[in-house]
């Protein structure tokens, strides 16, 4: 006769029953010989299996460890330039992006840089405009010094004519 508690007994035996189920099973076990017998049979079977501790042979374990070490050593010895295709593609894309960024970046001394370089704080906007018309927008500081020298000479010439 099936008492209907078979599956609940399994949960109870293996410690997966909630508090309510646990209490219900404990009450039921007091009255059901079949469930007590199943409980005892499971306990005997589990106990007997726990007594056995079979392990693979030492040679099998050694073979697995040896191949595992070889596999890991193979990974570590991987040469620096043995990239995968994905790594190569990524490196190429990154290099191209850097080249494009460099090409697009403004070069040389921008007028703002020359203007705000602090080389001569007395240089006013008129002289800057003159610098721009006379300068070939060269990036070198030498060119700036040369042109500034011209401006200076011209300024002196202007002072002379002004009297």
């Amino acid at each position: 006769m099936d008492c209907g508690y078979g599956e609940k007994l399994i949960l109870y035996f293996y410690g997966e029953a909630g508090a309510e189920l646990k209490a219900g099973m404990e009450a039921h076990l007091k009255t059901c010989a079949a469930c007590r017998g199943s409980f005892a049979a499971l306990a005997a079977a589990e106990g007997a299996l726990r007594e056995e501790t079979p392990l693979p042979s030492a040679s099998v374990l050694a073979a697995v460890m040896s191949r595992a070490r070889a596999a890991l050593a193979g990974e570590k010895r991987r040469p620096f330039f043995s990239w995968t295709w994905a790594e190569t593609a990524f490196a190429g894309a990154l290099a191209a992006a850097l080249v494009m960024a460099f090409a697009a970046a403004p070069r040389g001394n921008s007028p703002e840089l020359a203007w705000n370089s602090g080389l001569d704080s007395t240089l006013d906007s008129v002289e800057y405009s003159l610098y721009r018309t006379q300068s070939d927008q060269s990036a070198s500081a030498g060119d700036w010094d040369y042109n500034y020298g011209l401006l200076n000479a011209e300024g002196q010439a202007l002072d002379t004519t002004a009297g």
């Binding site: 599956e7 949960l11 589990e46 501790t53 392990l55 099998v60 595992a68 890991l72």
Partner: protein, 169 residues
Amino acid sequence: MERHKGAVYGYLLRLTARRDAAEDIFQEVFLKLVHNPGAYGEREKFKAWLFTVARNAAMDHFRRESSRRAVACSEGDAAPDEDGSARAALDAVAASEPGPAEALENKLLGEKLARALEKLSEDQREVFYLRHYSGLSFREIAGMLGLPIGTVLARMSRAAALLRKELGK
């Protein structure tokens, strides 16, 4: 491997009932892990994944053996006794460890248990061994086997009833 080798090997030995087959599958399982560590995707507990791999490897082994036996039968060779698989498993287990004299009682119980386990269906045996060796919850086992938890519990319940009858409890 250290943590799980005993449980996985014990499970495989019970399933295959042959030490050589259990060792072959054991190697296959752990080398699969070594060569393809990314196979474990952390979507489930590692132990559940490990036992799934072990079970699938055992099923592949049975399929290969089954086709090999079919060829042998067609060529007139006798097929191995499948009904003695539980007894063979016990013999394989006993052969894998030394038997102290004081373990005679356990050995006798083990023989009685082996006879009882022979009476279980394959489905019942599978769930019973999986629960014992993996320690996974029945919910996890149901997920592994792709079955409703009720089905898994029903198989265990029937296994327990049969063991009760065979062990005289």
